[in-house]
């Protein structure tokens, strides 16, 4: 009876996983052939990989700059969001009563809003203020939807922290700056790191917000590049090897992190 339940549960999970991974496997398989459209097998070939690394493909500069933009925007936005969010979390944690409730409420808005609302509202803001749209506006928009997650990841670390340690450092002669660097930041670091990782991945994956705030200067991230490409009809075939490589990198990183974590847990 118990065993049957277990087998049934296993099968259920594996079916869902198979469906979830089918498109990714599909992309990976068809990255090893040269055909333009995805479902077309014209024999095994590594040419798409070669093209990707030598840059010898149509519109190669477009794809490569889209990748660069995606990484640059994600990096800048998540660094700023981590800084802004951590400072804000310390502030919000020390607020009381109605002011605290107001800040928490405001902080929740970007997380509740669907991307399209964030995108359209920021688009209207930049139009209203006559700010020409491009890198800066996209980065500002990404900071807007990333920071709340940093705040929510740092606040629990503040409540776990013993407030007396900071005061003790001051009493023992540390300057506020030293106390900040040597006491506060180390205590908050896990929250800052998970806030940063979350921000970075959300920024990488964002489509709608970027789409509305990138303006008309031809700025593309990977998402908007894929969107325009697909709407034009043919997807750049080199995207398939690119996605396959990205997937393998992410898979490796996550497996290493998790195996380490479970090892640490076992030790405890």
């Amino acid at each position: 009876m118990r065993n049957k339940r277990k087998i049934f549960a296993r099968i259920y999970l594996w079916i869902i996983l198979a469906v979830l991974y089918a498109p990714i496997v599909f992309i990976a398989v068809f990255s090893f052939t040269e055909a333009k459209s995805m479902g077309n097998w014209t024999g095994f070939s590594m040419n798409l990989y070669k093209n990707l690394f030598t840059g010898s493909m149509q519109n190669s500069s477009g794809l490569l700059s889209a990748v660069q933009n995606t990484l640059l925007i994600a990096l800048v936005a998540s660094v700023v969001a981590t800084f802004l969010g951590t400072v804000a979390a310390i502030g919000i944690f020390n607020l009381k009563g109605r002011r605290k409730a107001t800040m928490t409420f405001l902080n929740n808005i970007p997380m509740i809003n669907p991307d399209i609302i964030t995108g359209v509202s920021l688009f209207l803001l930049f139009v209203f203020l006559h700010i020409s749209q491009g890198y800066t506006t996209v980065i500002l928009a990404h900071i807007t939807f990333c920071t709340p997650y940093v705040v929510l990841n740092v606040i629990p670390k503040l409540s776990q922290m013993n407030p007396n340690i900071y005061e003790a450092a001051l009493d023992l002669g540390a300057t506020p700056m030293q106390a900040l660097r040597k006491v506060l930041v180390p205590a908050l670091r896990p929250g800052m790191i998970s806030g940063f990782i979350l921000s970075f991945t959300m920024s990488l994956d964002d489509f709608a917000v970027t789409f509305f705030t990138r303006g008309t200067i031809g700025l593309d991230t990977l998402s908007t590049y894929i969107y325009t490409d697909a709407r034009k009809g043919g997807l750049t075939p080199e995207l398939k090897p690119l996605m396959t490589i990205l997937f393998l990198i992410i898979l490796a990183v996550l497996l290493v992190i998790n195996i380490r974590q479970s090892k640490n847990n076992d030790k405890k």
């Binding site: 498109p23 002011r99 509740i112 399209i116 994956d205 996550l254």
Partner: protein, 257 residues
Amino acid sequence: MNKRSNWALPYFIFLILFVVLPLLLILIYALQDNSGHFTFANITKFFSDGDSLSTFALSIEVAIENTLLCILIGYPAAYILADKSLNRSAVTVVLFILPMWINALMRTLATAELFNMAGIPLGKGTLLFGMCYDYLPFMIYPIYNVLNKMDKSYAEAAQDLGATPGEVFRKVTLPLSMPGVMSGVMMVFMPTVSTFAISEFLTNNKIKLFGTIIQENINNSMWNYGAALALIMLVIIGITTFFQGGDTEEAANGGVI
């Protein structure tokens, strides 16, 4: 200690400028005509425009169906993942979240291509399948989180007091896991109403959802009508958040390892 609360000030200004003001601008643009005069015309246009109304109704319908589908498929998966006697490996949980790190548009295009290869015509069925595919992890993860943190002694107590496994689930586990389901609903329902690229790819532009008409209006410089449509969506978000109670703590942990 008091001074430290001032640290919230920069972020407060940032939120006013980049969250509150933009949302107010949606309201202002929605209530203006092209030349900036006050009008309700954009709102009344929506309620008298058959196309917009039917798109809206269809979006809500698809979103409800998708949310139910995600709960139906996702809840058992989350339950199995959180049950130590059925699943002991943390890696399985990671496997469920991993696809989210691959560009959603690319995955959606591949899904549409798979349907083409299988000879299944793109339409509402494929749209629902693809939506469910895209949003399932967002349903599984919050439910898993709640189930995982749940105090198992409640279920054990119910069992000791003579409840059957079915009763334990219905009267103890399910009610206690409702916060997880609610944050899952939050992360699936509104995004489904508002997606545009995903629905375009999965139906070959045959079916438009609400997000698509907002996007088309904004991109064709019909900002006022686009803003009015966004405003209608905001009202719905307000209503659903009100019923949900605005608990976003779970949602915040949605994507982390």
